[in-house]
């Protein structure tokens, strides 16, 4: 065990955007069994502390690799690129225009005849855009086109935010 390894190596998966989620679940379960602090109860304080560290590293790793956005951001981090703390970065104006329109569309959902259907179709549109971006990211990353991959992750961040907003409105309409 070595927490200096990246999440992929630590968990035992190839460094790639494409991840077999059931394999991720299996491996994390195996590791949890091996690392669980209870197994170290009889050992020294130092080893117990290590086991707690491993567990928390494992949990963070699983959460990161499970989410497409966090996984993509992490893959870029491994290349020394951090897209999570950028404030104002030049973004393709056409893309921003589209983001504006999608958000305007969301804003008008409650006034539609059938708000649930309007919300459903908006969500479907956003999810298919996200899916396309995820595929593009995977290809760009694989072929080491990191600048393009970075741009794609930035776009994913806008769309993921929109998904959160859509879900929030869904809850509001339900309630």
């Amino acid at each position: 065990m070595d927490i200096n390894k990246n999440f992929f190596e630590f968990i035992g998966l190839p460094i790639s955007f494409y991840i077999d989620q059931s394999e991720l679940a299996d491996r994390s379960l195996d590791l949890q069994k091996t690392l669980h602090p209870d197994r170290y109860a009889h050992l020294s304080e130092r080893e117990q502390r290590l086991s707690v560290q491993y567990m928390s590293y494992l949990n963070e790793g699983v959460a990161t690799l499970r989410s497409p956005l966090l996984r993509a951001q992490y893959l870029l981090l491994l290349q020394g690129i951090d897209t999570t703390s950028e404030s104002s970065t030049p973004i393709d104006p056409m893309f921003l225009m589209q983001q504006m329109e999608l958000r305007e569309c969301l804003e008008e959902v409650p006034d539609q005849d059938d708000p649930f259907e309007a919300l459903e179709s908006l969500l479907a549109e956003v999810m298919s855009m996200l899916e396309a971006l995820r595929n593009k990211f995977a290809q760009d990353y694989q072929s080491e086109a990191f600048a393009a991959a970075t741009e794609t992750v930035r776009k994913m961040q806008f769309l993921e935010k929109l998904v959160v907003e859509i879900e929030r409105l869904e809850d509001k309409l339900d309630g």
């Binding site: 897209t83 999570t84 703390s85 950028e86 404030s87 104002s88 970065t89 973004i91 104006p93 921003l96 225009m97 983001q99 504006m100 958000r103 305007e104 992750v153 930035r154 776009k155 961040q157 806008f158 993921e160 935010k161 929109l162």
Partner: protein, 127 residues
């Protein structure tokens, strides 16, 4: 996190929300976004023949600080020349609204938006 009174005022009563015709020759449009938080901001200015900003409109999808920053800047730029508007600094906005350090980037977004709007207007005039 507690918002300052001024942020809350601009958030609850945003000034100059709206849209101008971006095909209009006298209108400059700035579109900016902050990928980290997913905020999107559109800021538009209407410029007189003498090069003075007559009107400004904005639409921001984002947090209270981003909305307040863009609302405030549309108030400020009215009556300014293009050069004066381009010289507006995010720190002035952040100070006026008493933004906490983690929200400074919202004022940066507003500064970038006004610069982008001025640039878009100038580009239209050069054509």
């Amino acid at each position: 996190m507690a918002y300052s009174e001024k942020v809350i005022d601009h958030y609850e009563n945003p000034r100059n929300v709206g849209k101008m015709n971006d095909k209009d020759e006298n209108v400059g449009t700035g579109m900016v976004g902050a990928p980290a938080c997913g905020d999107v901001m559109r800021l538009q200015i209407k410029v007189s023949d003498k090069g003075i900003i007559e009107d400004a409109k904005f639409k921001t999808y984002g947090c209270g600080s981003a909305i307040a920053s863009s609302s405030l800047i549309t108030e400020w730029v009215k009556g300014m020349s293009l050069d004066e508007a381009s010289e507006l600094k995010n720190t002035t906005i952040a100070e006026e609204l008493a933004l906490p350090p983690v929200k400074i980037h919202c004022s940066v977004l507003a500064e970038d938006a006004i610069k982008a709007a001025v640039a878009d207007y100038k580009e239209k005039q050069d054509k």
